[in-house]
């Protein structure tokens, strides 16, 4: 019965109670901050609807907006590249770095480079890649993957980070695992990298077609540090990040950080329109499957996602299973969807990670409806041959009973016998229900028999 996610979740839930509840509580508190921030704006629901409609318009006119965007970029002297897939993206990025004889690259957070596996690609070719977002830096030093798209390292404890910093010589005071102290140590350590890096790379939250601005939102200011010193700035950007204009940007800006972290704005909203004096700026626009999603009638709306992470924070399954329980680098409700779009056979094991509570549908600032779409993915698993075979047998059994009334009737009239099966006999491998529950007790008589009896008694004047 076990899917990839359910097996990994089982492992996660073997953690000490305190760690499990802290994980849940941490992300729930972010959800609460999001609620509080949203409640400040009487126009919140209008904003969500507007964002959804602007995105629906943009992703169904993507070619037009990309044309406008690239024309403006080039007008501003920015060099534009197009990458068909991860391989091409990595080659282009490396090509630019090689031409500029770059030895050290500082990066601000980019899930796209994670998607394409850029870091190992560059490091194999001798480039020193330094992640500069604190969370990403911690993960890089610990050789771990992000467990969340906005707060990638929040699942780690201060002690785990502190011990690693001590080991790497980043912190000097042994045993001081205070987050303020550790952050300060990382700041001093990274400052050197910012000063001597040969190039900076950023992601892109929004590409504004009307102006050619690449807009990057950070709290640490690391995108700006990464691009204000070196003479080369490379922007890695998924195709779907383009939006029409500043008026649209205002809508997304107001939603993004409120949804993601509950802040009214990130500390920095940086607009990169052209290279700084004496420097060069490149934008690599990456397809890597996105143009196929535009043709997917059931799931094209995933392209509306602005990667705020709110669906993860609200997801009761994510909070109780952790980011590493999913087989894709983006976890949670949107991750389940994106993984299926990437490779359904490989990632079908994530589709079970949803109780269909639909909280994500209601929290999503762009109304992507990830939960409703997981329901649709479930229906398609049979076409990939990845449906859960035991579950299918169960469903077929239920269907057979429900469709055959005499069988249904006979079963229900006699089912209370099952109440006498001792709990100790329950085999959890055959009956996963008994892992966390006692068995429900069948009624001595089902409702339909009681009702019939009552009607007959009425008729007979009893």
């Amino acid at each position: 019965m076990s899917t990839y996610h359910s097996k990994r979740a089982k492992e996660f839930l073997k953690n000490p109670e305190e760690k499990i509840s802290r994980h849940d509580q941490t992300f729930w508190s972010v959800r609460q901050k999001r609620d509080a921030a949203a409640a400040q704006l009487p126009e919140w629901e209008n904003l969500r609807e507007q964002a959804s409609r602007i995105k629906a318009h943009t992703v169904t006119h993507l070619a037009d907006y990309l044309e406008q965007f690239t024309t403006n970029l080039e007008k501003n002297g920015v060099i534009v590249h197009f990458a068909k897939d991860a391989q091409e993206f990595n080659e282009i990025a490396y090509g630019i770095l090689e031409t500029h004889k770059v030895r050290k690259l500082v990066k601000s957070k980019s899930m796209l480079t994670e998607e394409c596996g850029l870091n190992p690609y560059l490091m194999e070719r001798g480039i020193d890649v330094v992640e500069s977002d604190l969370g990403e830096r911690i993960l890089q030093l610990m050789h771990l993957k992000p467990a969340h798209i906005v707060m990638p390292a929040i699942h780690l404890t201060r002690d785990e980070v502190g011990e690693m910093f001590e080991e790497k010589g980043i912190s000097k005071e042994i045993g001081n695992h205070d987050p303020t102290y550790l952050t300060y140590c990382a700041r001093q350590n990274l400052r050197k990298d910012f000063m001597d890096a040969d190039a900076g790379m950023t992601g892109c939250n929004f590409g504004v077609a009307a102006t050619g601005d690449c807009v990057v939102c950070t709290n640490e200011g690391n995108a700006d540090m990464s691009t204000s010193v070196p003479k080369l700035h490379i922007v890695a950007m998924g195709l779907e990040k383009v939006i029409p204009d500043y008026a649209s940007l205002a809508v997304f800006h107001r939603l993004l950080s409120r949804s993601g972290t509950g802040q009214p704005a990130t500390s920095f909203t940086s607009h990169f329109r052209r290279a700084r004096p004496g420097a060069e700026m490149h934008v690599i626009l990456v397809d890597n499957g996105r143009s196929d999603i535009t043709a997917n009638t059931a799931h094209w709306e995933t392209l509306k996602c602005i990667r705020c992470g709110a669906c993860m924070n609200t997801c009761p399954v994510y909070r109780r299973s952790g980011g590493y329980s999913y087989s894709y680098f983006i976890p949670g409700p949107i991750g389940v969807n994106l993984s299926m779009l990437k490779d359904p056979k490989k990632h079908s094991g994530n589709v079970s990670a949803c109780s269909l509570c639909l909280s994500c549908d209601c929290v999503c600032p762009a109304k992507v409806t990830p939960g409703s779409q997981i329901y649709r993915w479930r229906q398609s698993l049979e076409t990939y041959g990845t449906e859960n075979k035991e579950k299918k047998v169960m469903a077929e059994g239920m269907k057979a009973v429900y469709e055959n009334y005499p069988v249904y009737d006979a079963l229900l009239r006699n089912s209370s016998v099952a109440n006498y099966i001792p709990e100790a006999w329950a085999d959890t491998s055959l009956n996963p229900w008994s892992i966390g529950h006692t068995m429900p007790r069948f009624a001595r008589k089902p409702f339909h028999a009681l009702f019939k009896q009552a009607m007959e008694e009425l008729k007979n004047g009893k």
């Binding site: 318009h57 169904t60 201060r158 952050t183 008026a247 704005a265």
Partner: protein
């Protein structure tokens, strides 16, 4: 991949098209935008000093940062030790205690101040331990809809909305001011 191939592919793949919404969202407005801006700024960890047109800004800045040694600015009338317009390389601004820059638009709903690049080396906005942003009180707007209809980009082609100091909560969700950029921000509202 060629741009033309991609665009052709996208056009071929698009099945249904949706129109842009016709009406804009009406953003929140406040009875007193300055008061709201000050309150929001404090919430995002920013200090606000209200100054009159006739006040001596240099005195205010020195008073706010009595222990600071190295000041950097290219703002006319501001005394500084380093000038981001004249340094040869951005790195020379590392070690700045206080950077002083000008903001163009301030936003009441989120404490953002639009700081367009008006200096050769914009790193002054980020590398300084403390950042001072000078902005006219009359430039405060209600919300981002208003802000985005007003901001101007300079020829440098860079600008940033700054809302308080650099911060992170990447370790156990504990909020820490001063991740990679300025550890503290003071906005001086003039007028």
């Amino acid at each position: 991949m060629k741009k033309e191939d991609l665009l052709r592919r996208l056009r071929r793949h698009t099945i249904q098209q949706f129109d842009m919404p016709e009406t804009a969202v009406k953003g929140i407005t406040y009875p007193d935008v300055a008061r709201q801006f000050i309150e929001t700024s404090k919430n995002v960890g920013c200090k606000v000093i209200e100054a009159k047109e006739t006040d001596d800004l240099n005195a205010i800045i020195r008073q706010a940062y009595p222990d600071a040694q190295v000041f950097a600015s290219n703002v006319k009338g501001i005394q500084a030790d380093r000038n981001p317009d004249t340094v040869a390389e951005a790195q020379e601004l590392n070690g700045t205690d206080v950077g002083i820059v000008e903001g163009q638009v301030a936003v009441a709903e989120n404490g953002c101040v639009w700081v367009p690049q008006t200096m050769k080396e914009r790193v002054v906005c980020f590398v300084s331990e403390q950042l001072v942003i000078l902005v006219r009180r009359r430039r405060i707007v209600n919300n981002m809809h208003e802000a985005y209809s007003r901001i101007q980009m300079t020829d440098y082609g860079y600008g940033c909305f700054i809302s308080g100091p650099s911060k992170t909560a990447d370790i156990e969700q504990a909020l820490v001011m001063g991740a990679q950029a300025a550890r503290g921000v003071t906005v001086i509202l003039i007028g």
